[in-house]
Symmetry: C2
Protein backbone atom coordinates (compact mmCIF):
# COMPACT_ATOMS: atom_id res chain seq x y z
CA UNK A 1 0.00 0.00 0.00
CA UNK A 2 1.07 3.53 -0.72
CA UNK A 3 0.92 5.54 2.46
CA UNK A 4 1.19 9.30 3.03
CA UNK A 5 1.92 10.44 6.57
CA UNK A 6 0.69 13.85 7.62
CA UNK A 7 2.65 14.86 10.68
CA UNK A 8 6.21 14.32 11.86
CA UNK A 9 5.80 14.06 15.63
CA UNK A 10 6.16 11.05 17.93
CA UNK A 11 3.15 9.11 16.63
CA UNK A 12 3.94 9.81 12.96
CA UNK A 13 7.56 8.79 13.45
CA UNK A 14 6.84 5.48 15.15
CA UNK A 15 3.99 4.63 12.77
CA UNK A 16 6.10 5.39 9.71
CA UNK A 17 8.90 3.13 10.97
CA UNK A 18 6.52 0.30 11.81
CA UNK A 19 4.61 0.50 8.51
CA UNK A 20 7.80 0.54 6.48
CA UNK A 21 9.17 -2.41 8.45
CA UNK A 22 5.96 -4.26 7.55
CA UNK A 23 6.40 -3.69 3.85
CA UNK A 24 4.10 -0.73 3.25
CA UNK A 25 5.40 1.98 0.93
CA UNK A 26 5.68 5.39 2.58
CA UNK A 27 5.46 7.85 -0.33
CA UNK A 28 5.39 11.24 1.43
CA UNK A 29 5.82 12.84 4.81
CA UNK A 30 4.03 16.14 5.28
CA UNK A 31 4.85 18.70 7.94
CA UNK A 32 4.46 22.46 8.17
CA UNK A 33 8.01 22.41 9.47
CA UNK A 34 9.97 21.18 6.49
CA UNK A 35 13.06 20.26 8.52
CA UNK A 36 10.96 17.89 10.67
CA UNK A 37 9.37 16.31 7.59
CA UNK A 38 12.76 16.03 5.91
CA UNK A 39 14.29 14.23 8.88
CA UNK A 40 11.65 11.53 8.86
CA UNK A 41 11.37 11.40 5.05
CA UNK A 42 15.09 10.86 4.85
CA UNK A 43 14.76 7.88 7.20
CA UNK A 44 11.90 6.52 5.06
CA UNK A 45 13.60 7.21 1.74
CA UNK A 46 10.64 9.25 0.54
CA UNK A 47 9.61 12.80 -0.28
CA UNK A 48 9.19 15.53 2.35
CA UNK A 49 6.31 17.93 1.73
CA UNK A 50 5.68 21.28 3.36
CA UNK A 51 2.63 22.41 1.37
CA UNK A 52 -0.71 20.64 1.44
CA UNK A 53 -1.08 21.40 -2.28
CA UNK A 54 1.89 19.18 -3.00
CA UNK A 55 0.32 16.06 -1.53
CA UNK A 56 0.25 12.97 -3.75
CA UNK A 57 -3.43 12.38 -4.67
CA UNK A 58 -2.95 8.70 -5.56
CA UNK A 59 -2.00 7.11 -2.24
CA UNK A 60 -4.11 4.31 -0.75
CA UNK A 61 -3.91 5.57 2.81
CA UNK A 62 -3.46 9.01 4.37
CA UNK A 63 -2.60 8.98 8.06
CA UNK A 64 -3.23 12.29 9.82
CA UNK A 65 -1.03 12.31 12.94
CA UNK A 66 -1.12 15.98 13.91
CA UNK A 67 -2.47 17.88 16.94
CA UNK A 68 -6.23 17.43 17.33
CA UNK A 69 -7.03 21.05 16.57
CA UNK A 70 -5.45 20.99 13.11
CA UNK A 71 -6.88 17.65 11.92
CA UNK A 72 -9.77 19.34 10.10
CA UNK A 73 -7.51 21.84 8.37
CA UNK A 74 -5.27 19.06 7.08
CA UNK A 75 -8.23 16.87 6.09
CA UNK A 76 -9.64 19.66 3.90
CA UNK A 77 -6.64 19.29 1.60
CA UNK A 78 -7.60 15.62 1.07
CA UNK A 79 -11.28 16.10 0.40
CA UNK A 80 -11.24 15.09 -3.28
CA UNK A 81 -8.88 12.13 -2.86
CA UNK A 82 -10.08 8.55 -3.30
CA UNK A 83 -7.74 7.05 -0.70
CA UNK A 84 -8.73 6.18 2.85
CA UNK A 85 -8.05 9.03 5.31
CA UNK A 86 -7.55 8.17 8.99
CA UNK A 87 -6.60 10.17 12.06
CA UNK A 88 -4.72 8.80 15.08
CA UNK A 89 -6.45 10.78 17.79
CA UNK A 90 -7.97 9.33 20.95
CA UNK A 91 -10.50 12.10 21.38
CA UNK A 92 -11.52 13.26 17.89
CA UNK A 93 -14.75 11.91 16.37
CA UNK A 94 -14.72 9.93 13.17
CA UNK A 95 -17.56 12.26 12.08
CA UNK A 96 -15.11 15.16 11.76
CA UNK A 97 -13.32 13.31 8.95
CA UNK A 98 -16.45 11.72 7.45
CA UNK A 99 -17.87 15.21 6.88
CA UNK A 100 -14.82 16.19 4.83
CA UNK A 101 -13.29 13.22 2.97
CA UNK A 102 -14.79 10.36 0.93
CA UNK A 103 -13.41 7.46 2.96
CA UNK A 104 -12.75 8.12 6.64
CA UNK A 105 -11.39 6.08 9.51
CA UNK A 106 -9.56 6.10 12.83
CA UNK A 107 -6.28 4.36 13.56
CA UNK A 108 -5.48 4.95 17.24
CA UNK A 109 -2.45 3.22 18.74
CA UNK A 110 -2.79 3.15 22.54
CA UNK A 111 0.78 3.84 23.53
CA UNK A 112 3.13 6.59 24.71
CA UNK A 113 5.74 7.42 22.12
CA UNK A 114 9.03 9.25 22.48
CA UNK A 115 11.27 9.79 19.52
CA UNK A 116 14.29 8.72 21.53
CA UNK A 117 12.99 5.24 22.31
CA UNK A 118 12.00 2.51 19.91
CA UNK A 119 8.94 0.50 20.75
CA UNK A 120 7.65 -2.80 19.42
CA UNK A 121 4.22 -2.37 17.79
CA UNK A 122 3.39 -6.05 18.27
CA UNK A 123 2.16 -5.45 21.83
CA UNK A 124 0.44 -2.13 21.17
CA UNK A 125 -3.36 -2.19 21.10
CA UNK A 126 -4.56 -0.48 17.91
CA UNK A 127 -8.13 0.80 17.94
CA UNK A 128 -9.76 1.11 14.55
CA UNK A 129 -13.01 2.58 13.24
CA UNK A 130 -14.26 3.41 9.73
CA UNK A 131 -17.37 4.73 8.04
CA UNK A 132 -17.93 1.60 5.94
CA UNK A 133 -17.21 -2.11 6.20
CA UNK A 134 -14.79 -2.24 3.26
CA UNK A 135 -12.59 0.47 4.70
CA UNK A 136 -12.76 -1.16 8.13
CA UNK A 137 -11.51 -4.41 6.56
CA UNK A 138 -8.59 -2.53 5.00
CA UNK A 139 -7.68 -0.93 8.32
CA UNK A 140 -8.00 -4.25 10.13
CA UNK A 141 -5.60 -5.86 7.69
CA UNK A 142 -2.97 -3.13 8.11
CA UNK A 143 -3.36 -3.00 11.89
CA UNK A 144 -3.16 -6.79 12.22
CA UNK A 145 0.14 -6.82 10.38
CA UNK A 146 1.54 -4.38 12.96
CA UNK A 147 -0.02 -5.61 16.18
CA UNK A 148 -1.51 -8.69 17.80
CA UNK A 149 -4.11 -6.55 19.60
CA UNK A 150 -6.51 -4.89 17.17
CA UNK A 151 -9.80 -3.56 18.56
CA UNK A 152 -12.79 -2.29 16.61
CA UNK A 153 -14.05 0.46 18.87
CA UNK A 154 -16.51 3.31 18.46
CA UNK A 155 -15.63 6.88 19.36
CA UNK A 156 -17.20 6.70 22.83
CA UNK A 157 -15.08 3.76 23.94
CA UNK A 158 -11.99 5.19 22.29
CA UNK A 159 -12.42 8.41 24.24
CA UNK A 160 -12.73 6.40 27.46
CA UNK A 161 -9.50 4.56 26.63
CA UNK A 162 -7.74 7.84 25.99
CA UNK A 163 -8.91 9.20 29.33
CA UNK A 164 -7.85 6.02 31.13
CA UNK A 165 -4.48 6.29 29.40
CA UNK A 166 -3.92 9.73 30.94
CA UNK A 167 -4.39 8.16 34.39
CA UNK A 168 -2.32 5.07 33.57
CA UNK A 169 0.56 6.76 31.80
CA UNK A 170 0.78 10.58 31.70
CA UNK A 171 0.03 11.02 35.40
CA UNK A 172 2.30 8.21 36.66
CA UNK A 173 5.14 9.64 34.56
CA UNK A 174 4.58 13.03 36.16
CA UNK A 175 4.66 11.42 39.60
CA UNK A 176 8.01 9.86 38.68
CA UNK A 177 9.11 13.42 37.83
CA UNK A 178 7.93 14.72 41.23
CA UNK A 179 9.77 11.84 42.95
CA UNK A 180 12.87 12.90 41.05
CA UNK A 181 12.34 16.50 42.15
CA UNK A 182 12.30 15.34 45.80
CA UNK A 183 15.42 13.22 45.27
CA UNK A 184 17.32 15.99 43.48
CA UNK A 185 16.61 18.50 46.22
CA UNK A 186 18.32 16.06 48.58
CA UNK A 187 21.21 15.12 46.30
CA UNK A 188 19.92 11.62 45.70
CA UNK A 189 20.02 10.06 42.24
CA UNK A 190 16.91 8.97 40.31
CA UNK A 191 18.72 5.69 39.61
CA UNK A 192 17.99 4.48 43.14
CA UNK A 193 14.21 4.33 42.58
CA UNK A 194 14.22 2.89 39.06
CA UNK A 195 13.92 -0.74 40.28
CA UNK A 196 10.90 0.31 42.36
CA UNK A 197 9.21 1.96 39.36
CA UNK A 198 9.86 -1.11 37.20
CA UNK A 199 8.47 -3.49 39.82
CA UNK A 200 5.38 -1.32 40.45
CA UNK A 201 4.42 -1.58 36.76
CA UNK A 202 5.45 -5.24 36.60
CA UNK A 203 3.11 -6.11 39.49
CA UNK A 204 -0.01 -5.04 37.61
CA UNK A 205 0.83 -7.09 34.53
CA UNK A 206 -0.77 -10.08 36.25
CA UNK A 207 -2.77 -8.49 39.07
CA UNK A 208 -5.33 -5.73 39.25
CA UNK A 209 -3.84 -2.59 40.83
CA UNK A 210 -6.33 -2.39 43.70
CA UNK A 211 -5.17 -5.87 44.81
CA UNK A 212 -1.53 -4.83 45.13
CA UNK A 213 -1.70 -1.32 46.60
CA UNK A 214 1.01 -0.69 49.21
CA UNK A 215 2.23 2.33 51.19
CA UNK A 216 1.18 4.44 54.16
CA UNK A 217 -2.26 5.48 52.86
CA UNK A 218 -3.59 1.95 52.30
CA UNK A 219 -2.26 1.00 55.77
CA UNK A 220 -3.96 4.12 57.17
CA UNK A 221 -0.62 4.93 58.74
CA UNK A 222 -1.44 8.53 59.73
CA UNK A 223 1.83 8.91 61.55
CA UNK A 224 3.89 8.40 58.38
CA UNK A 225 1.45 10.43 56.28
CA UNK A 226 1.82 13.38 58.66
CA UNK A 227 5.62 13.07 58.67
CA UNK A 228 5.59 13.13 54.86
CA UNK A 229 3.29 16.16 54.73
CA UNK A 230 5.62 17.92 57.15
CA UNK A 231 8.62 17.09 54.92
CA UNK A 232 6.77 18.62 51.97
CA UNK A 233 5.94 21.90 53.65
CA UNK A 234 8.43 23.79 51.48
CA UNK A 235 6.82 22.25 48.36
CA UNK A 236 3.12 23.13 48.80
CA UNK A 237 2.15 21.86 45.35
CA UNK A 238 3.57 18.40 46.10
CA UNK A 239 2.04 18.51 49.55
CA UNK A 240 -1.40 19.07 48.08
CA UNK A 241 -0.96 16.23 45.56
CA UNK A 242 0.29 13.95 48.35
CA UNK A 243 -2.77 14.76 50.42
CA UNK A 244 -5.38 14.29 47.71
CA UNK A 245 -3.91 11.02 46.38
CA UNK A 246 -3.60 9.64 49.93
CA UNK A 247 -7.24 10.53 50.60
CA UNK A 248 -8.24 8.86 47.36
CA UNK A 249 -6.34 5.68 48.32
CA UNK A 250 -8.05 5.64 51.74
CA UNK A 251 -11.46 5.94 50.03
CA UNK A 252 -10.86 2.52 48.43
CA UNK A 253 -10.95 1.02 51.93
CA UNK A 254 -14.52 2.18 52.55
CA UNK B 1 24.16 -16.37 60.57
CA UNK B 2 21.24 -17.20 62.79
CA UNK B 3 18.39 -14.84 61.96
CA UNK B 4 15.10 -14.21 63.80
CA UNK B 5 12.39 -12.45 61.81
CA UNK B 6 9.86 -10.40 63.74
CA UNK B 7 6.86 -9.93 61.48
CA UNK B 8 5.15 -12.03 58.84
CA UNK B 9 3.94 -9.42 56.36
CA UNK B 10 5.15 -8.67 52.84
CA UNK B 11 8.60 -7.39 53.80
CA UNK B 12 9.24 -10.18 56.33
CA UNK B 13 8.15 -12.85 53.85
CA UNK B 14 10.34 -11.65 50.99
CA UNK B 15 13.33 -11.01 53.25
CA UNK B 16 13.04 -14.43 54.86
CA UNK B 17 12.98 -16.14 51.46
CA UNK B 18 15.93 -14.13 50.15
CA UNK B 19 18.05 -14.65 53.28
CA UNK B 20 17.41 -18.37 53.32
CA UNK B 21 18.21 -18.62 49.60
CA UNK B 22 21.54 -16.91 50.43
CA UNK B 23 22.44 -19.46 53.05
CA UNK B 24 21.46 -17.63 56.24
CA UNK B 25 19.73 -19.72 58.89
CA UNK B 26 16.25 -18.48 59.79
CA UNK B 27 15.66 -19.79 63.31
CA UNK B 28 12.32 -18.22 64.26
CA UNK B 29 9.44 -16.26 62.80
CA UNK B 30 7.52 -14.14 65.29
CA UNK B 31 4.01 -12.81 64.73
CA UNK B 32 1.17 -11.88 67.06
CA UNK B 33 -0.99 -13.86 64.66
CA UNK B 34 0.31 -17.39 65.05
CA UNK B 35 -1.26 -18.65 61.82
CA UNK B 36 0.65 -16.01 59.84
CA UNK B 37 3.91 -16.86 61.60
CA UNK B 38 3.26 -20.58 61.10
CA UNK B 39 2.71 -20.18 57.37
CA UNK B 40 6.06 -18.47 56.86
CA UNK B 41 7.89 -20.61 59.44
CA UNK B 42 6.67 -23.69 57.63
CA UNK B 43 8.16 -22.38 54.39
CA UNK B 44 11.44 -21.64 56.19
CA UNK B 45 11.51 -24.93 58.10
CA UNK B 46 11.81 -23.09 61.41
CA UNK B 47 9.87 -22.32 64.57
CA UNK B 48 6.82 -20.05 64.67
CA UNK B 49 6.55 -17.88 67.78
CA UNK B 50 3.54 -15.94 69.03
CA UNK B 51 4.93 -14.64 72.33
CA UNK B 52 7.83 -12.23 72.61
CA UNK B 53 8.98 -14.16 75.72
CA UNK B 54 9.62 -17.20 73.56
CA UNK B 55 12.18 -15.48 71.34
CA UNK B 56 15.54 -17.18 70.94
CA UNK B 57 18.10 -14.96 72.75
CA UNK B 58 21.12 -16.37 70.88
CA UNK B 59 20.51 -15.29 67.29
CA UNK B 60 23.05 -13.08 65.48
CA UNK B 61 20.48 -10.88 63.81
CA UNK B 62 16.94 -9.82 64.69
CA UNK B 63 14.99 -8.21 61.85
CA UNK B 64 11.97 -6.22 62.97
CA UNK B 65 9.61 -5.99 59.98
CA UNK B 66 6.40 -4.84 61.64
CA UNK B 67 4.28 -1.70 61.37
CA UNK B 68 6.21 1.40 62.42
CA UNK B 69 4.07 2.04 65.49
CA UNK B 70 4.85 -1.33 67.09
CA UNK B 71 8.61 -1.39 66.42
CA UNK B 72 9.41 -0.04 69.91
CA UNK B 73 7.14 -2.55 71.63
CA UNK B 74 8.79 -5.45 69.83
CA UNK B 75 12.30 -4.04 70.41
CA UNK B 76 11.71 -3.92 74.18
CA UNK B 77 11.58 -7.71 74.18
CA UNK B 78 15.09 -7.78 72.70
CA UNK B 79 16.72 -5.27 75.01
CA UNK B 80 19.05 -7.68 76.81
CA UNK B 81 20.07 -9.66 73.71
CA UNK B 82 23.60 -9.45 72.32
CA UNK B 83 22.57 -9.87 68.66
CA UNK B 84 22.22 -7.03 66.19
CA UNK B 85 18.66 -5.67 66.02
CA UNK B 86 17.54 -3.89 62.84
CA UNK B 87 14.26 -2.49 61.62
CA UNK B 88 13.17 -2.28 57.97
CA UNK B 89 11.30 1.00 58.13
CA UNK B 90 11.80 3.93 55.78
CA UNK B 91 10.64 6.53 58.28
CA UNK B 92 11.68 5.32 61.73
CA UNK B 93 14.86 6.71 63.28
CA UNK B 94 17.74 4.47 64.19
CA UNK B 95 17.70 6.30 67.54
CA UNK B 96 14.45 4.59 68.49
CA UNK B 97 16.23 1.23 68.46
CA UNK B 98 19.56 2.53 69.81
CA UNK B 99 17.76 3.73 72.93
CA UNK B 100 16.44 0.23 73.61
CA UNK B 101 18.81 -2.49 72.37
CA UNK B 102 22.58 -2.96 72.60
CA UNK B 103 23.35 -3.17 68.89
CA UNK B 104 20.98 -1.34 66.58
CA UNK B 105 20.73 -0.88 62.84
CA UNK B 106 18.47 -0.26 59.88
CA UNK B 107 18.00 -2.57 56.91
CA UNK B 108 15.61 -0.85 54.49
CA UNK B 109 14.91 -2.51 51.14
CA UNK B 110 13.52 0.08 48.73
CA UNK B 111 10.89 -1.99 46.98
CA UNK B 112 7.17 -2.72 46.89
CA UNK B 113 6.39 -6.25 48.02
CA UNK B 114 3.29 -8.36 47.50
CA UNK B 115 3.07 -11.86 48.87
CA UNK B 116 1.64 -13.10 45.58
CA UNK B 117 4.62 -12.05 43.47
CA UNK B 118 8.22 -13.12 43.82
CA UNK B 119 10.87 -10.49 43.33
CA UNK B 120 14.58 -10.72 42.71
CA UNK B 121 16.54 -9.02 45.50
CA UNK B 122 19.58 -8.55 43.28
CA UNK B 123 18.20 -5.32 41.80
CA UNK B 124 16.70 -3.96 45.01
CA UNK B 125 18.54 -1.05 46.64
CA UNK B 126 19.12 -1.87 50.31
CA UNK B 127 19.77 1.09 52.61
CA UNK B 128 21.73 0.32 55.75
CA UNK B 129 22.64 2.22 58.89
CA UNK B 130 24.06 1.12 62.27
CA UNK B 131 25.19 2.69 65.52
CA UNK B 132 28.76 1.41 65.23
CA UNK B 133 31.22 0.53 62.48
CA UNK B 134 31.43 -3.18 63.32
CA UNK B 135 27.69 -3.64 63.07
CA UNK B 136 27.59 -1.61 59.88
CA UNK B 137 30.18 -3.96 58.39
CA UNK B 138 28.04 -6.95 59.36
CA UNK B 139 24.97 -5.41 57.73
CA UNK B 140 26.94 -4.47 54.64
CA UNK B 141 28.09 -8.06 54.25
CA UNK B 142 24.58 -9.48 54.52
CA UNK B 143 23.07 -6.83 52.26
CA UNK B 144 25.78 -7.27 49.62
CA UNK B 145 25.04 -10.97 49.43
CA UNK B 146 21.40 -10.16 48.61
CA UNK B 147 21.74 -7.13 46.37
CA UNK B 148 24.14 -5.38 44.04
CA UNK B 149 22.91 -1.97 45.26
CA UNK B 150 23.77 -1.38 48.92
CA UNK B 151 23.68 2.20 50.20
CA UNK B 152 24.90 3.49 53.56
CA UNK B 153 22.40 6.21 54.28
CA UNK B 154 21.51 8.23 57.36
CA UNK B 155 17.94 8.57 58.56
CA UNK B 156 17.34 11.91 56.84
CA UNK B 157 18.18 10.58 53.39
CA UNK B 158 16.31 7.33 54.05
CA UNK B 159 13.18 9.30 54.91
CA UNK B 160 13.53 11.27 51.67
CA UNK B 161 13.82 8.01 49.73
CA UNK B 162 10.72 6.67 51.42
CA UNK B 163 8.79 9.81 50.55
CA UNK B 164 10.01 9.68 46.94
CA UNK B 165 8.96 6.03 46.81
CA UNK B 166 5.39 6.99 47.69
CA UNK B 167 5.36 9.29 44.64
CA UNK B 168 7.13 6.78 42.40
CA UNK B 169 5.24 3.65 43.39
CA UNK B 170 2.21 3.92 45.72
CA UNK B 171 0.64 6.84 43.86
CA UNK B 172 1.22 5.50 40.32
CA UNK B 173 -0.31 2.17 41.39
CA UNK B 174 -3.36 4.04 42.67
CA UNK B 175 -3.60 5.89 39.35
CA UNK B 176 -3.57 2.51 37.57
CA UNK B 177 -6.49 1.59 39.86
CA UNK B 178 -8.37 4.78 38.91
CA UNK B 179 -7.74 4.03 35.22
CA UNK B 180 -9.19 0.59 35.81
CA UNK B 181 -12.22 2.14 37.52
CA UNK B 182 -12.85 4.28 34.41
CA UNK B 183 -12.42 1.26 32.13
CA UNK B 184 -14.69 -0.98 34.21
CA UNK B 185 -17.48 1.59 34.24
CA UNK B 186 -17.39 1.40 30.46
CA UNK B 187 -17.02 -2.38 30.15
CA UNK B 188 -13.46 -2.20 28.95
CA UNK B 189 -10.83 -4.60 30.24
CA UNK B 190 -7.70 -3.51 32.16
CA UNK B 191 -5.70 -5.78 29.84
CA UNK B 192 -5.92 -3.20 27.07
CA UNK B 193 -3.82 -0.62 28.95
CA UNK B 194 -1.21 -2.99 30.39
CA UNK B 195 1.23 -2.47 27.46
CA UNK B 196 0.96 1.29 28.01
CA UNK B 197 1.73 0.96 31.73
CA UNK B 198 4.73 -1.26 31.00
CA UNK B 199 6.12 1.13 28.38
CA UNK B 200 5.60 4.18 30.62
CA UNK B 201 7.81 2.62 33.30
CA UNK B 202 10.25 1.26 30.73
CA UNK B 203 10.77 4.73 29.25
CA UNK B 204 12.19 6.15 32.49
CA UNK B 205 14.70 3.32 32.91
CA UNK B 206 17.05 5.24 30.62
CA UNK B 207 15.55 8.73 30.57
CA UNK B 208 14.52 11.20 33.23
CA UNK B 209 10.72 11.42 33.49
CA UNK B 210 10.51 15.15 32.76
CA UNK B 211 12.20 14.49 29.39
CA UNK B 212 9.56 11.99 28.27
CA UNK B 213 6.29 13.49 29.53
CA UNK B 214 3.43 13.05 27.05
CA UNK B 215 -0.32 13.72 27.10
CA UNK B 216 -2.73 16.65 26.85
CA UNK B 217 -1.38 18.65 29.82
CA UNK B 218 2.21 18.89 28.57
CA UNK B 219 0.86 19.88 25.12
CA UNK B 220 -1.36 22.47 26.85
CA UNK B 221 -4.22 20.94 24.88
CA UNK B 222 -7.05 22.64 26.79
CA UNK B 223 -9.65 21.27 24.43
CA UNK B 224 -8.87 17.65 25.35
CA UNK B 225 -8.41 18.51 29.02
CA UNK B 226 -11.88 20.08 29.10
CA UNK B 227 -13.43 17.07 27.32
CA UNK B 228 -11.83 14.78 29.88
CA UNK B 229 -13.04 16.88 32.81
CA UNK B 230 -16.53 16.79 31.30
CA UNK B 231 -16.35 12.97 30.98
CA UNK B 232 -15.42 12.79 34.67
CA UNK B 233 -18.30 14.90 35.95
CA UNK B 234 -20.00 11.86 37.48
CA UNK B 235 -16.73 11.01 39.29
CA UNK B 236 -15.88 14.26 41.10
CA UNK B 237 -12.99 12.72 43.03
CA UNK B 238 -11.28 11.63 39.80
CA UNK B 239 -12.11 14.97 38.22
CA UNK B 240 -10.32 16.81 40.99
CA UNK B 241 -7.25 14.55 40.73
CA UNK B 242 -7.24 14.99 36.95
CA UNK B 243 -7.32 18.75 37.36
CA UNK B 244 -4.60 19.04 39.99
CA UNK B 245 -2.18 16.67 38.23
CA UNK B 246 -2.75 18.43 34.90
CA UNK B 247 -2.05 21.79 36.55
CA UNK B 248 1.10 20.34 38.09
CA UNK B 249 2.29 19.05 34.69
CA UNK B 250 1.66 22.47 33.14
CA UNK B 251 3.74 24.10 35.88
CA UNK B 252 6.79 22.20 34.60
CA UNK B 253 6.51 24.25 31.38
CA UNK B 254 7.03 27.57 33.18
Amino acid sequence: MKVVLLGSGNVATHLAKALKANGEEIVQIYSKQLDHAALLANLMGCQAVQKLNDLNPDADLYIIAVKDDVIAEVALALKNFEGLVVHTSGTTDLALLSAIVKHAGVFYPLQTFSKAKDVSFEQIPICIEANDEDQLAVLKKIASKLSRQVHELGGDKRRVLHLAAVFASNFPNHLYALANQILEENNLDFQIIRPLIAETAEKVMFSLPNKVQTGPAIREDENTINKHLEMLKSMPELQSIYQSLSESIKLTLK
